[in-house]
Symmetry: C2
Subunit: 155 residues, 2 copies
Amino acid sequence: MSGPETGERQRSFMDLALEEAEKAASRGEVPVGAVVVLGDRVLARNGNRTLELNDPTAHAEVLVLRAACAELGSQRLPDCDLYVTLEPCAMCAGAISFARIRRLYYGAGDEKGGAVDHGTRFFRQPTCHHAPDVYSGIGETRAVALLKTFFQAKR
Amino acid sequence: MSGPETGERQRSFMDLALEEAEKAASRGEVPVGAVVVLGDRVLARNGNRTLELNDPTAHAEVLVLRAACAELGSQRLPDCDLYVTLEPCAMCAGAISFARIRRLYYGAGDEKGGAVDHGTRFFRQPTCHHAPDVYSGIGETRAVALLKTFFQAKR
C-alpha cells in the first residue's frame, strides 16, 4: 500500500511493533507485537505473553489496548491507532471494536486465524458496532519472516 | 432445554452467574455475569467491569477465564465449563475458544452482539480451532429481565 496513511511515520510505528514481536519470539511466545499511538505519542507497546502470563487473552493487541486505556483512564480510544504485526483474530477484532480504535494497521494476513480480511471478517458484520479504518501490508515481509522462523524452529 | 446436561446442578451454577449479573447492575455496569467451574468447584465468578476498570475487554467472560487460568496456572481450561448469563460476543467467543473451554452454558441470546448463535457464529467457522459444546436458555428469563430493567433505566 502507499499514500499519506502508510508513509514513513506509519512504518516507524510498525517497526516498534516488529521489535515487540522479536522480543516475544525471544521469550518463546508466538512473535506478534502491537503498538497503540495517539498523535505522535506511543501509549503502549507489547508482544504476546500468553505463556508467560498463563492468560489465553494476553495477545499483543489486548495487552496494548488495556494499557492504553489505563493510561488515558478511558475504556475508549477513538483518537488512537493500533499497529500490529499480524492480522487480528476474532477476539482481538472484538476488543479493537469495543475500544473504538480509529485506524488499524496490520502487517501480515492470517488465513488460518485472522478475522479482519479472513474468517469472519468481523468489521464488516452487522453485529460489529464500530469498525476502524484498516490498512494492511506494512512491515509484512518482516512479520512473516519472524513467524516462519518461529514455527520452523518449533517443529 | 432439558436433559442431563441442563439439570439442577447446571441451574445452580447459572444462579451464581445471575447473582454476578445483579451485582454488575448495582455497579452501573451492563448486567452480565459469568462463572467457571471445574467439577464441583467454582474457580472464578465475576460480572462486567468495563467501566470500573476502564477496560473494554473486561467482560464477565474474559475476567473469569483469566482468573480461572491464574488459579490453575495454565492458559488452557479443557476440563472446565463456563456459565454466562448472556450469549458471548465475538471477543469473548474467541477467548473461550483459546481457553479450550469444554462446555458453554449461556442464558439469553443476543441478536445484536452475540457471536455464538447469532452474528458470526464463531464456533462454527473454519478459523475457530476449538469449539465448546453449547447449551443455551438456562436462566434466560432472569437474564433478560435484568438486562431490560437496566437499559430501560438508562433511557
